[in-house]
Symmetry: C2
Subunit: 431 residues, 2 copies
Amino acid sequence: MGLKSFVEVPRESHFPLENLPFGVFRPKPSSATVAGDSSPPPPPRPGVAIGDFVLDLSVISAAGVFDGPLLKNSKCFLQPSLNMFLEMGRPAWKEARSTIQKLLSADEPTLRDNASLREMSLLPMSEVQMLLPAVIGDYTDFFSSMYHAKNCGNIFRGPENPIPLNWFHLPIAYHGRASSVVISGTDIIRPRGQGHPMANSPPYFGPSQKLDFELEMAAIVGPGNELGKPVDVSDAADHIFGLVLMNDWSARDIQAWEYVPLGPFLGKSFGTTISPWIVTLEALEPFVCDAPKQEPQPLSYLAEKKHVNYDIPLEVWIKPAGHEHPSIVTKSNFKHLYWTIAQQLAHHTVNGCNLRPGDLLGTGTISGPESESLGCLLELTWNAQRSLTLNGSDRKFLEDGDEVIFTACCKGRDFNVGFGTCTGKVLPALP
Amino acid sequence: MGLKSFVEVPRESHFPLENLPFGVFRPKPSSATVAGDSSPPPPPRPGVAIGDFVLDLSVISAAGVFDGPLLKNSKCFLQPSLNMFLEMGRPAWKEARSTIQKLLSADEPTLRDNASLREMSLLPMSEVQMLLPAVIGDYTDFFSSMYHAKNCGNIFRGPENPIPLNWFHLPIAYHGRASSVVISGTDIIRPRGQGHPMANSPPYFGPSQKLDFELEMAAIVGPGNELGKPVDVSDAADHIFGLVLMNDWSARDIQAWEYVPLGPFLGKSFGTTISPWIVTLEALEPFVCDAPKQEPQPLSYLAEKKHVNYDIPLEVWIKPAGHEHPSIVTKSNFKHLYWTIAQQLAHHTVNGCNLRPGDLLGTGTISGPESESLGCLLELTWNAQRSLTLNGSDRKFLEDGDEVIFTACCKGRDFNVGFGTCTGKVLPALP
Ligand SMILES: [Ca+2]
Ligand SMILES: [Ca+2]
Ligand SMILES: [Mg+2]
Ligand SMILES: [Mg+2]
Ligand code: NI
């Protein structure tokens, strides 16, 4: 049996007492005050998900609930973002987790029996608006699924040596655009841009004709490192607070034309969606599994004592405009990543590059080995050479009105540790 | 004759009354208070350079000097960065410039005849520490010199089609690392990393053996744009506050091994140095010149009514450890850029990508057509196939102890509009 909270948690919930993911939200204005009310929206504050509720950490912090040595006098939960808490590191994270787990447990009266504190601090999820959980200084996107690397190489560069030589020696990555990272639920406007020209014609300009999703997860950085001071691979996990789902929306026609020689730019920078709840590495601990064997052996700065991943089943669904229900298009798993998040972080800093709390490290598209586990439409339709069928509707790439829904849930024997969803709907391009 | 200030401005100064570049500084603790003083350093505040002095904008703002309609009640000069002022846009920038130009002019008594205000607001440059002028949300680096693109293509990909096909159709760029942008004068630790392996050997790991500078300038973004709302090329200049010098330090061995297929990453992210004084587009107006003719004609979203550059002579000097004087290694000019900063900004946003005040848009290495006008050692030594001589000392790439000094100065008939210097010294790699 799982842990028991006095808050009702349905058995299939992503957010039982074993999970306790962190996010940032603001209460929605209540319907009574909407009409004619011009007061500013309530400020953003940190929260934790429990069942179908959000625990307002600013309220319970102000009530003096955090009485451990690290959090007792801290203002970290009175901030509009999690950055200050992220910077405090694992000991503070563990203290927060155990305080909250105790506070919400069935046999703990502090909150359970305090009606007014409960009223103020526990809000139904339907009555909050989720926001970006952290100020993201820099966003980096890796390329760590071998299946994805191989398929992309095949499609873009042909079947001889589809995977570049360097790929097995280092976790390849590029800098992404931090300004256009948006929270789940934000609409994505189809980008315009230059597409790859046919033979001798000038380049195409207009709305992207090959809009795609990329199924990814991303690590949220905790304590940073000083410029010039690399993080050792054996310390790397202590610099990672947790994981979110990430959709790295990609315009394949723009990307194909622009990416030589400096990499993806406008084909990606029009929007990147993350899920609102950061699931901590502590909560994921029961789902640790072996990571794929690495051959050749990585250089010593990338060599881990325990080369492990997490077993996180991932799904992508698409709901076309006018359809009542979404259709599933792929099932993959985080455990397929060849380079682990600890290796990614150690590599990122080995040249002295500084990370900051709140930085976002995308895994790259997580494709699995089977044709039903590919992480983007580029692979699923082999660059539009075939179609997917969504309950009667054909897809080569995304169409206007499509809503793309990622979800992830680790299934334990007695409880889930889930990520909720990461969603976005495609709006038509500007005229 | 140039404008005359009551502050003495030497004829060769980069910072006469016609320039008035903006930066952020803090007063150095005075020598009297250093010993045993544990008080916190004074907070950063905006300033303007005049001759060998810095005008403290927080002091003159608090004194009520800014009495124009846009700045009268603004707190923009009471901030630790210029971001708030950048966001206000060109009308506020013009108002600030004309207020400051009047305040500092020889025949204006307000400051000239107020000894105590002068004492508080005019600090010798030697008594201030310059800081990053803005919080940089995102840093983008373009690739807009045709000479540089051609030389790099020749060196890395061979003499057939050295310039990629897409280059003449769009201003190619990649996302850079914002966290490691540092202010002039910051030491740069030689990065460690993986270098390109020889034929069948494993990749090299260790200190970069091909550390280079890249002579660039960068635009500082003023008002941003909303996600999904591109900036028209004819409005683009109004989103640019001014220019700084930029050294995009590059480890060529790391870059060469990692950059396929996603572009530069650790070969660049260990440090990028900018000069402290942002020279405004207003101050550069007298140095407008034609930009290189573009063939083929750019697509309409990149077509400018006036396709213009600025005539900004650029120099790079290197001072090896133990040398008393630096030696000049190249002379180039901003006017060689094929894609203008307005085209760069319009392209950057055409897919809907949002820019924010303080964003940094690097031009890419500015090489000119002659062998003495190349913007990096990779080109100057043709990837170490020949040497440069620095007053008796040979260079293929940078050595530990080398100080690299960029400078730029527009020479008018009666006055200069200069950028000061952008410097950094190479420290040995970590053991
Ligand atoms: Ca990606
Ligand atoms: Ca560069
Ligand atoms: Mg994206
Ligand atoms: Mg750099
Ligand atoms: Ni950034």
